[in-house]
C-alpha cells in the first residue's frame, strides 16, 4: 500500500503541490491523470524518493520513503523518469542487468541472469539484447528501460509518462506489457499518463490531479464522466460509449 499523508512541495510562494492525501491499495495499474502542471510527475517523483518533500510523509509497503535506506527501498519500489540520458554505451542486456543492482551490487548471479532473461523476453527484447542502446529506436529503448525496472523485481513500479515519444502501435504494446506485468506478475504500477483514453482502457484505477491536489480517485467508470473530466481538465470533455468502452472526446 502506498500512503501519502499531507504531502507538500513548495516551488515558490505561488506555486505549490499539495497538501496531498492519497491511499493506493496494492495491485493493478493506477494512472495519474490531469492537466499540465497539476503535480502528477512531482508526486510520483516524491514517491520514488528522487525529490524531497517540504511537508508530510509517504510510506510504501510500510516503509517511510524519507527514512528508509535507499538500498532497502530499491527492493520495494522502482521508479523510471521520462528523461533518461546517459553517455555510457551499454547493451540492452547490460542496462537491464542494472535492475539487479540492489540485490547483487553488480556481481550478477545465475539467478539474476534468469530474472534478466525473463524481463527481456517479457518486453520482447530477446532479439535486441546484444544491441547498444544508441542503436535502438525510441520505442525499443523505452522498452529496455521498462525491462530494467521490471528486473528490479519490486512490488511497486512508478513510471513517469512511459508513452512519451511512442507512436500508436508502440503505445498500445507498452500498455499491454504493463497490464500483463501488473496482472500476471502481481505488480502495483503507478503511471503518469497524458492520454485519458489510454488511462481508461488499461488502468484499474484513475487518480485525477489538478492544481497540485487530488480531485478525484476511483475506477475508470467513476472518473470517465464528462462532469469529472470537464472539471479536471478545464475544457469541455464529452464521454461517449465506444466499441471497447468509454471514450473521451475533447476536440
Amino acid at each position: 500500500m502506498i500512503r501519502v499523508t499531507d504531502v507538500i512541495k513548495r516551488y515558490s510562494s505561488e506555486v505549490a503541490i499539495g497538501p496531498v492525501d492519497l491511499t493506493i491499495e496494492p495491485g493493478g495499474i493506477i494512472a495519474l491523470v490531469g492537466p499540465n502542471g497539476a503535480g502528477k510527475s512531482t508526486l510520483l517523483t516524491m514517491m520514488g524518493r528522487l525529490l524531497g518533500m517540504d511537508g508530510g510523509s509517504i510510506s510504501i509497503a510500510g516503509h517511510d520513503v524519507a527514512r528508509t535506506p535507499s538500498r532497502e527501498l530499491a527492493t520495494i519500489v522502482s521508479i523510471l523518469r521520462q528523461e533518461n540520458h546517459f553517455i555510457t554505451r551499454l547493451t540492452v542486456r547490460q542496462l537491464v542487468g542494472f535492475g539487479r543492482f540492489p540485490y547483487s551490487q553488480g556481481r550478477l548471479t545465475p539467478a539474476d541472469e534468469q530474472i534478466i532473461d525473463r524481463a527481456i523476453s517479457f518486453l520482447d527484447l530477446t532479439g535486441l539484447e546484444g544491441r547498444y542502446l544508441d542503436e535502438l529506436s525510441g520505442g525499443q529503448r523505452q522498452r529496455a528501460y521498462v525491462a530494467m525496472v521490471l528486473a528490479q523485481d519490486t512490488e511497486y513500479v512508478l513510471l513517469d509518462e512511459p508513452l512519451n515519444n511512442l507512436d500508436m502501435r508502440h503505445s498500445v504494446a507498452m500498455m499491454r506489457h504493463l497490464h500483463d506485468a501488473a496482472h500476471t506478475l502481481g505488480r502495483t504500477i503507478v503511471i503518469v499518463l497524458h492520454d485519458i483514453n489510454f488511462a481508461c482502457q488499461y488502468a484499474d484505477r484513475l487518480c485525477a490531479m489538478k492544481d497540485g491536489r487530488v480531485v478525484a480517485f476511483g475506477t475508470p467508470e467513476e472518473i470517465m464522466t464528462s462532469e469529472v473530466l470537464t472539471d479536471v481538465f478545464e475544457t469541455t470533455v464529452e464521454v461517449i460509449d465506444g466499441p471497447r468502452g468509454r471514450l473521451a472526446v475533447y476536440y
Partner: protein
C-alpha cells in the same frame, strides 16, 4: 547522444551481449605484452651508457627504473581519473585538464611553495590534493546548478575556469618571483624523476585499486542521479568518493610529474568506442592504454632531439588535441 542513428551500427556486442565477465582474455594479454615491450624500451632509452659506464647499473636503478614506474603509475592514474570524472559528470569530454582540476592542483602547489619555501614533498602534495579537491567540488557544484545539456559547453566552462585559476597562479607567481614553479608544472615531464623523488606516486596505485573495487558503483553513478538512486546507490556519497580519488590522483601526479593534458580524455573514449562500456572489464584496458600512450609520448620526447628532451606534455598535447577533434567529429556524426 541517445538519438537513434541507424547508420551507427558498426559495432555489435559479441554473442548474446552478455556482460563480459572475464577480466583476462587473449587480447588483454597481447595488450599487456605490447605495453610491457614499450616499458622495456623506456628502460633502455637514454643518453647515458648504462652498459659501458662503470656506474651504469647504478644509474639504471636511480633514473631509468623510477622513470618507467612513474610512467606506469601516472599514465594509469590520469586515464582512470578521466574515466571516473566522465561517469560522474555524464560527459565524455571532461577530464582533469578540461575541468580546471590540474590548474587548481598547480595553484595549491604554488601556494604551499610560496608560503613555505622549504616545504617537504609531502606538504606540497597535500596542498595540491586539497586544491584539486576544492576545484573539482566547485566545478561539480556549478554543473549541478546549471544543468548543461550540451556536452560541449561543459568542457568549455571547465577550460575557462581552469584558465582563470591558471592566471591567478601566474599572478601570484609574478608577485612572488616563482614563475619557474609554474613553468615546471606546466611542462609535465618525466625528466626529473629519480629515486627518492617519485615514490609518492605509489599513492596513485592505491587510487587505482579503489577505482577497481568501486567500478560497478561508478558505472551505476554514470547512469545519472535518478537511475542510480532508483537502484539504491548513495549517489552524493559516490560523487564525493569519486572527487576525492580524482583529486588525490591529479594532485600527486601534478606535484611529481606535472601537467599531462588530454590523457584522461582520449583513453576512456577510445576504449569505449572499441569495447562499449562495461566498466569492470574495460578498466584494465583503460590502465593499459593510458600507460601505453604516455610511454610512447615520453619515448618520442626523449628521442626527438636527443641528447635533449621535449616535455611529454607537449607531445601529449599535440596527440591529444588531434584525437580530441577526431572524437568530436566522430561523436557528432553518430548524433
Amino acid at each position: 547522444m541517445t538519438v537513434p542513428s541507424p547508420a551507427a551500427g558498426a559495432v555489435r556486442a559479441p554473442g548474446r551481449g552478455r556482460a563480459p565477465g572475464r577480466l583476462v582474455d587473449p587480447k588483454l594479454l597481447l595488450g599487456i605484452l605490447v605495453v610491457g615491450a614499450l616499458l622495456v624500451a623506456s628502460l633502455f632509452t637514454g643518453v647515458y651508457d648504462i652498459w659501458g659506464a662503470d656506474d651504469g647499473a647504478a644509474m639504471f636503478a636511480i633514473t631509468r627504473v623510477p622513470r618507467t614506474i612513474a610512467l606506469v603509475l601516472a599514465g594509469a592514474a590520469m586515464a582512470m581519473s578521466g574515466l571516473v570524472m566522465q561517469l560522474l559528470t555524464q560527459n565524455r569530454f571532461v577530464e582533469p585538464t578540461t575541468t580546471g582540476t590540474t590548474e587548481w592542483a598547480g595553484l595549491g602547489l604554488l601556494l604551499v611553495m610560496v608560503v613555505a619555501p622549504e616545504a617537504s614533498l609531502t606538504a606540497r602534495m597535500i596542498g595540491a590534493v586539497v586544491a584539486s579537491f576544492v576545484g573539482t567540488v566547485i566545478f561539480f557544484a556549478f554543473l549541478r546548478r546549471v544543468t548543461l545539456r550540451s556536452s560541449l559547453i561543459v568542457p568549455i566552462v571547465g577550460i575557462m575556469l581552469g584558465a582563470v585559476v591558471g592566471s591567478i597562479s601566474t599572478f601570484i607567481a609574478l608577485r612572488t618571483n616563482s614563475l619557474q614553479i609554474i613553468g615546471v608544472w606546466f611542462a609535465g615531464s618525466f625528466t626529473d624523476i629519480i629515486r627518492g623523488q617519485y615514490e609518492v606516486l605509489w599513492i596513485t596505485g592505491l587510487v587505482g585499486v579503489a577505482v577497481f573495487i568501486a567500478a560497478d558503483r561508478f558505472t551505476v553513478a554514470g547512469l545519472g542521479e535518478e537511475i542510480a538512486t532508483n537502484v539504491g546507490l548513495n549517489y552524493p556519497r559516490m560523487v564525493l568518493i569519486g572527487t576525492g580519488l580524482i583529486a588525490v590522483a591529479t594532485g600527486v601526479v601534478t606535484v611529481v610529474v606535472g601537467n599531462l593534458p588530454f590523457l584522461g580524455l582520449i583513453v576512456p573514449n577510445i576504449v569505449s568506442l572499441i569495447r562499449g562500456d562495461d566498466l569492470r572489464s574495460n578498466l584494465p584496458w583503460v590502465c593499459l592504454l593510458g600507460i601505453g600512450i604516455v610511454t610512447v609520448c615520453d619515448l618520442v620526447g626523449r628521442t626527438l632531439i636527443m641528447p635533449f628532451e621535449v616535455p611529454v606534455s607537449l607531445i601529449l598535447g599535440i596527440l591529444g588535441a588531434v584525437v580530441f577533434i577526431a572524437l568530436l567529429l566522430h561523436r557528432r556524426r553518430r548524433g
